[in-house]
Each structure stands twice: as structure tokens, then as C-alpha cells.
């Protein structure tokens, strides 16, 4: 379970998240909102990449402030820009990176890399230089790299912005089948229709928190 207690976050003087208190227990939670509303900042708080200026963030009872390392092991993170999260020059090496960090046995690493390649249709690209992938292929690789680690929670920051329709559906299906808890930030409202809960942010405040139908309607009216 993810819990925020009186969380406020600032960059310098600028307050980007105000006084949030939340318990996320559902399996699929989405966060939507306009550009600059604080979604990415919210996401980065969840795995301790950023510590709140005030308040507490707890992941399964672990405080991101004091248990950063353990939190990052429990929370996988797919960033907005795939370019900067692929750290190895070759596709399969990059997939193996997170798995090596988990110190899994070699066979297990190989098996998971193979499975991830197959699942995201990257098998033919396994020895491909990462910098020659298309934008969408990079995004798939970034997603595959995190999913292969099988963390208890996965946070996605707009994971489908570069994907074509088929790959968007592929990712949507993969997310639907995930046994883990998912927090997804997205501008792609279609993707969120079968989520359990949708939170709408505006200028760092929660302005709606509901089932997808009503929350998305609210958001669409507000943006109109």
C-alpha cells in the first residue's frame, strides 16, 4: 500500500504539491491533470527519487526518507523520456541491468530477459544497438526493463506517448495482466477506462478522486 501523509513539495519557493494525504490500496490507480499540474513530481515522490519538502511517503510501511534503498527495490519506475533510462549500449544488456542489480542467478536473468524480449516483440532486436531503436521501441524497452524486475509496485510516467496503436494496446494489455500494483500517469484517457481509481491533479491539489467514468468526465469538463 502507498500512503502519503500531509505531503507538500516545493522547488525553491514554488509549491508544486500541496498538502496531499492519500492511501492507495487499489491495484490500478491513475493520475491525470494538465501540463505542469505536478504529476511527475508526485510520481517521483513514490520511489524516493525525490523526498517531500514536508510530510511523509510510505510504501508498504517503509518511509521513503529513511528506507530509500528498500523502497526503490519495491517500486519500479518508468520515466517519461525513454532515451535517458536506457543505460546500456545493447538491448539485451539493458534488460539485464536491473536484474543484475537484484543479484539474481545467471539462469534466472537469462530466462527473464528472454521472456521480456518475447513479450514486447523485441526478440529480433536483442543485439541491436540501443541508440538505433525508434522512439516507440525505446519506450517498450524501458517498460520491459522495469517489468522484468517484478517490483511490488510500478509507477509509469506517461509510458505510451511515443507508441503506435498496436504497441499502445500491447502495453495496456501487459499492464492489465500485471499482478502488481500500478500507479499510472497518462494523458491517454482511453488507457485508464478500466482502472480502479483515477485522481485528478490541478496546480498541485487533488480536485477529483473517483472511479474512471466520473473522474474523467470531471477532467474533460474542467479542461474544456
Amino acid at each position: 500500500m502507498i500512503e502519503l501523509r500531509d505531503v507538500t513539495h516545493r522547488y525553491g519557493e514554488r509549491v508544486v504539491l500541496r498538502d496531499l494525504s492519500l492511501r492507495l490500496e487499489e491495484r490500478r490507480v491513475a493520475v491525470i491533470g494538465g501540463n505542469g499540474s505536478g504529476k511527475s513530481s508526485f510520481a517521483r515522490l513514490l520511489n524516493g527519487l525525490q523526498l517531500p519538502s514536508a510530510g511523509q511517503v510510505l510504501i508498504d510501511g517503509l518511509d521513503t526518507r529513511s528506507d530509500g534503498k528498500a523502497v526503490r527495490r519495491r517500486v519500479g519506475f518508468v520515466f517519461q523520456n525513454p532515451d535517458n533510462q536506457i543505460v546500456f549500449p545493447v538491448v539485451e544488456e539493458d534488460l539485464a541491468f536491473g536484474l543484475k542489480n537484484l543479484r539474481l542467478p545467471r539462469d534466472e536473468i537469462r530466462a527473464r530477459v528472454d521472456a521480456a524480449l518475447a513479450r514486447y516483440d523485441l526478440t529480433e532486436l536483442r543485439e541491436h544497438p540501443a541508440h538505433l531503436l525508434s522512439g516507440g521501441q525505446k519506450q517498450l524497452l524501458a517498460i520491459a526493463g522495469v517489468m522484468a524486475m517484478e517490483p511490488a509496485h510500478i509507477v509509469f510516467d506517461e509510458p505510451t506517448t511515443l507508441l503506435d496503436l498496436r504497441n499502445k494496446r500491447r502495453v495496456a494489455r501487459a499492464i492489465a495482466e500485471l499482478p502488481q500494483n500500478v500507479v499510472m500517469i497518462s494523458h491517454d484517457l482511453e488507457l485508464l477506462r478500466d482502472f480502479d481509481r483515477v485522481i485528478v491533479l490541478d496546480e498541485g491539489r487533488i480536485v477529483a478522486d473517483d472511479r474512471p467514468g466520473p473522474a474523467i468526465d470531471f477532467y474533460e469538463r474542467r479542461m474544456a
Binding site: 526503490r72 532515451d83 533510462q85 543505460v87 545493447v90 541508440h131 522495469v146 524486475m149
Partner: protein, 212 residues
């Protein structure tokens, strides 16, 4: 960047441990420089060509490696001819070409990550100097990954500037490129952290200590 020119394959050369290939390269280099004989240079050159052909890497690959080096080979051989004679010019040219081809053979048949892992193991003796081989090897991987990105960022910035009517200007290009690189470095550091990288653990593994 020679290191990234790996060609996937399954032959004997691909399966040899990278450490052995690197050692062979060092030994061959030492031998050729220590024993400046035309016969030795010629035999080595022919042997290296034979290794290429025997591994299924044809003349096209060999030519692709030698062609960009022809000018340098010609200059070195020409100087040698002028200083000494035609035979020593031939010796020097064959020696240089043989070494170049052998070094390329190593990189063509060794995946960058395996090469880096071999280097990491070879660097363990740096640990008493507080150099962490795992960090060195991650740095090498990152360099391999992001050197091509540097090129494409520069091209993108140039394109964007040209689209808005700015022709060539080194400073006008350098500033946005550097700003983007700094931002990128920040993001990469975050991504590495988010994927659970912990150099402390890597170290114990690379020195061969057993894991629980």
C-alpha cells in the same frame, strides 16, 4: 568508436573468453614491436587475414577496416621509405595493418559488455587504491551508450536552429547541446538509481567473493 562494432556470430572466436583475446592482442603487439622482421610481419599479416576468412568474415569486412586507414598507412610507410628503404617500409606497413586487423577482430567478435566485464575483472587490483572496478565498468558502458546520443543531440539542435534560420555557429550550437547534456546526465543518474544500482554489491561480485 571501434568498441561498438560487434558483429553477432557463433564461431570459435566469438566463444573465446574476451580476456584471452585481449591478452593475445597485447602479446601480438609486443611481439611485433620487439621483433622488427619483415618475415614475421608478413606471416602475421597473412595469418590474421586467414583468421578473418576462416571465421566467415570476408574481404569486404577486411577492406572496410583497412580503407579508412590507408592514408595513415601510406604516410607511415612513406616516411619509413624516405628514412630507410623500401623493405622496412613494407615491414612497418604490414605490421601496422596486421595489428589493426587483429584489434578489430577482437572487437568484432566480442560484445562490448563482455569486454567491459573482462576489464572489470582485470581491474580488481585497483581496489586498494579506492577505485571501484564496478563503477569504472558502468562508466565505460555509459560512454558506449551515450557517445552516439551526443552526435544525434548535436544534429537535432543544428536542425532546429537551421529550421529557424540560424546557419552555422559553434557557440549557438554548443550552448543548447551542453544544457541538454546536463539535463540528460541528471535523468540518467535517476534512472540508474531507480533500477536498483548499488556499486557496493557489484564490487563483491566482481572480486569473486561468494554470494549468500
Amino acid at each position: 568508436m571501434i568498441l561498438s562494432d560487434y558483429l553477432p556470430g557463433t564461431g570459435l572466436l566469438w566463444r573465446l573468453p574476451p580476456g584471452i583475446k585481449l591478452l593475445a592482442l597485447a602479446a601480438l603487439g609486443t611481439l611485433l614491436l620487439a621483433v622488427p622482421l619483415l618475415d614475421l610481419a608478413a606471416i602475421t599479416f597473412v595469418a590474421v587475414i586467414a583468421l578473418y576468412l576462416g571465421s566467415g568474415l570476408g574481404w569486404r569486412v577486411i577492406w572496410g577496416i583497412l580503407r579508412p586507414m590507408l592514408l595513415i598507412l601510406a604516410i607511415v610507410a612513406g616516411a619509413q621509405w624516405w628514412l630507410f628503404d623500401a623493405l622496412s617500409a613494407l615491414m612497418v606497413a604490414l605490421r601496422l595493418a596486421a595489428l589493426l586487423l587483429f584489434a578489430s577482430l577482437v572487437t568484432l567478435t566480442t560484445r562490448a559488455s563482455d569486454m567491459i566485464a573482462a576489464l572489470e575483472r582485470a581491474l580488481f587490483w585497483l581496489r586498494p587504491l579506492r577505485v571501484n572496478p564496478a563503477k569504472v565498468s558502468l562508466a565505460l558502458s555509459l560512454a558506449l551508450r551515450f557517445i552516439p546520443v551526443l552526435g544525434s543531440i548535436t544534429a537535432e539542435v543544428r536542425e532546429a536552429q537551421r529550421a529557424r534560420g540560424l546557419e552555422r555557429s559553434v557557440i549557438a550550437t554548443a550552448v543548447p547541446v551542453i544544457v541538454r547534456l546536463l539535463k540528460m546526465a541528471d535523468d540518467i543518474a535517476d534512472a540508474i538509481e531507480a533500477r536498483g544500482y548499488d556499486p557496493g554489491n557489484e564490487t563483491s561480485r566482481s572480486t569473486g567473493e561468494t554470494r549468500p
